[in-house]
Amino acid sequence: MNQPLTAPLDLFFDYQRSTGPTIGAFVTGLRDGRLLGARIGDGRVLVPPPEYDPATGVPIDDFVEVGPAGTVLSYSWQDEPQPEHPLDTPFAWALVQLDGADTPLLHVLQGDRDELEVGLRVVPRWADERAGRITDLVFVPERRLSSSKPSSDPEHPSSTSQPGSDPERPLSPSTPSSAEAEPVSLINTPIALSIEHSASAQESEYLRGLARGELIGARVGPGSPVYIPPRGASPTDGVPTEEFVQVADTGTVTTFCIVNVPFLGQQITPPYVSAYVLLDGADIAIQHLILECPADEVRMGMRVQAKWRPESEWGHTLRNIEYFRPTGEPDADYETYRHHL
């Protein structure tokens, strides 16, 4: 059998996080250029503040301003930053114990690799425009304060909004744009996920058939149900479906719905008929569109045929069939499809 086919599946969504009072206080502090920890029941100051005491479960609200300077407890060098990382030049991930805190904060440390060491004193460098996010700052070595200014790098102009991108940027935060600004209570959290989706070996044979304009199913053997797309194994008993069977591009609408509702990511403009079509020669229905007749004339039992796209547009996809359309034949007898409902 040939190699399974693959295709990219890229998902993206802007999740909205409600911060609640504790995380809200921390991120509001970040927006205002302040680092907040909180004192828990055993007297320690934790940064970021936990929402609930790890030992007693009590809600935490005894906030304490910490830092801004701190000490590196450990670090790991990121030589090749990835697209999702906060900086596009090499940096360190560091555990920074801020002055006044009893636990370290994992954050980004920008500096020369050679100057990094455990025990290094660091200070935050704040972004000019801060949204109340953990990326509103990076840490830099404190000793830069007393050393001569490094020359600016013409390769990295200072117009970027990254907090660590301009070594000459002042270390203290700019004044909050509005000191009375509302606390941050909602954070936008964009999350992207890129998957290389693989079809199974048998589904790939079906997809290669589609690229030839053929509908290929499979079954365990003569007399057993024909599955399209092939499953590799019968869902009811697990026996491999090793015999490929070509089925017709005509069939019967078993049941359907009319989609009137628009939604995020929708690829077909509503209203449209989403129908289960039991192809002639198959024993399980596929889902597809019904067009070339008004939606309210689509019926259970209606006979339909595939409307293929022009051959030049065919690929390894069921989208080679643009939709199904009525054949004009008499409706199928209910008994022929009722056990597929």
Binding site: R17, S18, E51, P235, T254, T255, V261, Y276, Q287
Partner: protein
């Protein structure tokens, strides 16, 4: 060795609403837990283990949130289990928590389930354009609507049955202070006049998107006996779960075998011969109104294709012989990950006599039911006033 008796000692729920922007996910869950502990009259140190359930991670974009939430849910230093059965997860979570007590492993287990739909978009998450396929998916409504059409065709039910269920559940929800939708004035006619979303499912026959959490404390016989005098517990008389593939040739989509098998096992384990006469009320997972008659049949309360007659005759109304979804059901509140547990918890509340404005008189035995995925996961329990023998 036989099972140890187990009982629901306490129930806690947040109120259900479209956006709880004042709390984080942890804060939302904690609110339900605090109420459950108070209702059970127990403290954190009396909880031996925590079992959680929520909808699939894509729904909220939080991978394994239970790890970051361990402090909030009181799981630090204790066993923490997560259950994962799509929309039925709240029910399965309760059953798993019950099994830990019934097996004699723990004396008291906290079960909690939640969803914060305001942070996400379940319709989007359920309509991912999988490569190579036709992008005809349209969320849960788009998935279930063709099967509702099949039910109507197979059973010969009149078209207004779905509207009768929707109007009943929404009116019930108006008596539940925690319900998301409160529509005391809704009518069958107004439901039928609402927009057709996924024909044959109308807007008013569809569950809302809710934020909310539900928690329960489940304890063993000794823990139940230590609950103060006069404060009732709900004994877990039977639990059942079954699963089947989403699709296979000849599958009965409107009366799935997994549901029938789970119900048969449940009634057998509970010693129930005739569920219709022996069960006083039921909380059934009905996200789209037509699923009430479908599940009445699947559960064995009605013969095949006759569930709609029970609806039409008012049997499932509050004054009927088998009141269904006195809380307003999923049609009135739907924090997906919690919706199954709410069914189980509301059944327990009816037995404990603590259902408040929607309490029925004299409930001795109640059913909690949940389903999930493409009608492929089923979980259910029977709770009652009598200690299982």
């Amino acid at each position: 060795m036989s099972k140890q008796p187990a009982a629901v000692l306490g129930v806690g729920q947040t109120h259900y609403t479209s956006k709880r922007l004042d709390v984080s996910m942890s804060g939302l869950v904690r609110e339900a837990i605090d109420k459950a502990l108070a209702d059970a009259r127990v403290g954190w140190d009396e909880i031996d283990a925590v079992v959680i359930g929520k909808a699939p991670d894509l729904f909220e974009g939080a991978m394994m949130p239970e790890l970051a939430m361990a402090d909030a849910i009181g799981a630090t230093g204790k066993p923490l289990l997560r259950v994962h059965t799509a929309g039925s997860v709240g029910g399965s979570t309760a059953n798993v928590a019950a099994s830990l007590v019934q097996a004699g492993v723990h004396a008291r287990v906290l079960a909690v389930a939640w969803e914060k739909q305001s942070e996400s978009n379940a319709m989007w998450a359920l309509s991912i354009p999988v490569p190579f396929s036709m992008p005809v998916g349209a969320g849960a409504g788009g998935y279930f609507a063709p099967h509702v059409r099949s039910y109507i065709r197979k059973s010969g039910a009149p078209e207004n049955i779905g509207a009768i269920v929707a109007a009943k559940d929404r009116r019930n929800g108006a008596r539940n202070p925690l319900a998301h939708l409160k529509q005391p004035d809704i009518t069958v006619e107004s439901v039928q006049a609402s927009q057709m979303l996924w024909d044959p499912i109308r807007f008013a026959e569809t569950c809302p998107s809710s934020d909310g959490a539900c928690a329960m404390v489940i304890g063993n016989e000794e823990a139940a006996d230590r609950v103060e005098e006069g404060r009732r517990v709900a004994w877990i008389q039977a639990t059942a779960m079954r699963t089947e593939p989403t699709t296979f040739s000849g599958r009965d989509h409107i009366n799935p075998r997994a549901g029938r098998d789970a119900a048969a096992a449940l009634w057998r384990a509970a010693g129930v011969d005739d569920p219709f006469t022996e069960i006083d009320c039921a909380e059934i997972y009905v996200p789209f109104s037509w699923f009430e008659p479908m599940w009445l049949e699947n559960l064995g309360f009605a013969e095949e294709f006759t569930g709609w007659r029970m609806v039409a005759e008012g049997v499932t109304a509050p004054d009927g012989a088998l009141p269904v979804n006195m809380s307003g059901g999923v049609l009135s509140s739907n924090p997906i990950g919690a919706s199954g547990m709410i069914r189980f918890a509301e059944a327990a509340l009816q037995v404990m006599g603590r259902a408040g404005g929607h309490q029925l008189d004299g409930v001795r035995r109640a059913l909690g039911h949940a389903y999930g995925g493409g009608s492929q996961y089923f979980s259910m329990w029977v709770v009652g006033a009598d200690r299982p023998s």
